[in-house]
């Protein structure tokens, strides 16, 4: 697959054609990904897509049947987790209940035969790094979710791994704390400079925190790209619909030109798409996607009204910063969603009103249907 795989200069982790099967179900199917040194990389996908398995392959808890794992350009296929330069923050944090906070954090360092005073100093420094000053002697069973997460983080970071693996670390936290931790994790990653690989099913989390995101479905990686590209230039229809919301229209290809494709849809009429934003095995049927905020509602006296399409408002909702309109076409089942954040100037039609809208061709993406 062409998604950043293959050994490249500056990669800290290279996954090459990884395949892992559980009970005859392919959890990971021929996945190749290169993770760059020092980046914040997220594996994003719905539950059961194989993202956690892939993370565990990097950690060494799962051994793939096929493919190679390289960490720091060394083949580590048969290297056990305790010998890999990776450390993991587990989904349930896996804090040792019989040890206090300092003993938990210093757990891995005890293996390095470090001088006792030095060890204590390092533990305190790391606790300070994650914002748990003075928690040394606290019982690990008397911590809140957020504190447990910080202990798990400190316990992994103290070993200064080349790669820190995080398995849905924020999923157990409530919304406010989660947003705060997203920010803190990002800051922490920048300050320590360690490569972070985060597994998450939360699109917002992946987009806000990461330098690059790998989107996975059914054991395959559909796209590896920056958050902007994932959002604006999704490569497959499932990526497009998984990240944010998107309107889809079925269309028939009518004309192919050098740089663009013209397709026909019952409701939108002639649609022109850029050739570079149409993906998939070339065919005659196309699914055209556009984000709700890329539609622009216009008033009848607008000079662009000539190229506008008209539909009827049947639902509207106010979401604070934005307003959502659900529109329906005459004689059609098709429904589209339009959102606008320009609450001052954009038309504000009532339910039942006809409204006109336009779009720009560069905001369209197309996916050939099988």
């Amino acid at each position: 697959m062409t998604n950043g795989g293959g050994i490249q200069e500056g990669n800290i982790v290279d996954l090459i054609s990884i395949q892992k099967t559980f009970d005859r179900i392919k959890a990971v199917n021929d996945v190749s990904i290169g993770i760059k040194e020092g980046e914040f990389f997220s594996l994003l996908g719905p539950s059961g897509c194989g993202k956690t398995t892939l993370l565990r392959v990097i950690a060494g808890f799962e051994v793939p049947e096929m493919g190679d794992v390289l960490i720091n350009d060394k083949l580590v296929n048969s290297v056990p987790p305790n010998k890999r330069p990776t450390n993991m923050v587990f989904q349930n944090y896996a804090i040792f209940p019989h040890l206090n906070v300092a003993e938990n954090v210093g757990y891995g360092l005890r293996n390095s035969k470090l001088d006792k005073n030095l060890l204590q100093k390092r533990v305190r420094e790391t606790l300070n790094l994650v914002g748990l000053d003075g928690f040394d002697n606290r019982s690990s069973t008397a911590l809140s979710g957020g504190q447990r997460q910080r202990v798990a983080l400190a316990r992994a970071l103290i070993l200064e791994p080349r790669v820190l693996l995080l398995d849905e670390p924020l999923s157990a936290l409530d919304k406010n704390l989660r947003e705060q931790m997203q920010f803190e994790l990002r800051q922490l990653q920048k300050s320590v400079g360690i490569t972070f690989v985060l597994v998450t099913h939360d699109q917002t989390e992946a987009l806000t925190m990461s330098d690059r995101v790998g989107v996975m479905f059914d054991g395959n990686v559909d796209q590896v790209a920056t958050p902007e590209d994932i959002y604006n230039k999704p490569r497959t229809k499932r990526v497009a619909s998984f990240i944010g919301s998107m309107n889809f229209f079925d269309a028939e290809v009518s004309v192919r030109q050098d740089n663009s494709i013209i397709a026909l849809n019952n409701n939108l009429g002639k649609i022109r798409l850029k050739k570079e934003s149409v993906f998939g095995m070339e065919g005659s049927k196309l699914s055209v996607g556009i984000r709700p905020e890329k539609f622009k509602l216009i008033s009848n006296d607008n000079k662009e009204a000539g190229r506008a399409v008209s539909a009827i408002v049947y639902e509207k909702s106010f979401l604070g910063q934005t307003k959502l309109f659900n529109l329906r076409f005459k004689d059609s089942e098709n429904v589209i969603t339009v959102s606008t954040s320009d609450l001052k100037n954009a038309p504000n039609p009532h339910i039942g009103d006809a409204v006109k809208f336009i779009w720009d061709e560069e905001d369209l993406v197309g996916f050939y249907e099988e």
């Binding site: 450390n87 587990f90 349930n92 040792f96 293996n111 069973t141 070993l159």
Partner: protein, 285 residues
Amino acid sequence: MSFSEQDKKGWRLLGLPFIFSLLLLAVPLATMFALSFWTQDYLVLKKTFTLANYKQAWFEPVFQTLFTRSLLISFTVTVFTIIFAFPVAYFISFYGGKRKALWLFLITIPFWTSYLLRMFLWKVILGYNGVLNSFLEWIGAITEPLTFLLYNSNAVVLALVHGWAPFAILPIFVSLEKIDRSLLEASNDLGDTAFKQFFRIILPLSMPGVVGAVLIIFIPTIGDYITPKLVGGPEGLMIANMIQVQFSKANNAPLAAALSVTSLLIVGSISILFVLLNKKHLRNY
């Protein structure tokens, strides 16, 4: 004093168990305790307070020997049972897969036979013309039967370790089952080898089960009566055998009671001390 409806309901609910424990636990214990301060002359009980029974029980060499031997045997049995039971429990918990229930079932099968029979069978195995001697003679390893196998403390220890094994396996198994497997991955991830992991995570977290097993085995075996009687011979006898003799043949129930109370005190204080020493392992996670 007046009772509310709820109080009455509570008394009705608790009444029967309360009478049950009173009659079957408290009364016998109190009787034995009282008895230990009396004296007996043939069949007549003299109910004047005396410490003579305790003086005899604590200072006469024969009783001291029996107490020491009982403690030693019970201690050895406990240690060996735990040592043998732990790997079994570990295997079932970590490698039992989908057959854990089957394994546990198999372990409890010997319990379908009576304890007496199982102990008696050790006589058949270890005896002069027993299974072991016959086998060794048959393969030519010995020319005449070994006599040190049966009728001594070692035979008692062997039989008791066998008899009590499941009582150690089950609590240890339960505590191993309770260990969150992600803790093992975490320790592995943080650099532990399997060996280190055992001593840093698995053993400390399974201590509640180990402590439970120790108490379950130590407390009853010290007062075991049947096993030393069957396979112990004269030098394998334990304190319970003496208590029985005092109660019946020797017609000295007060001395028997004093021996019983003493043995109760010894077992009780050792058990409490043991639990206190392991207090930090017994937190409920």
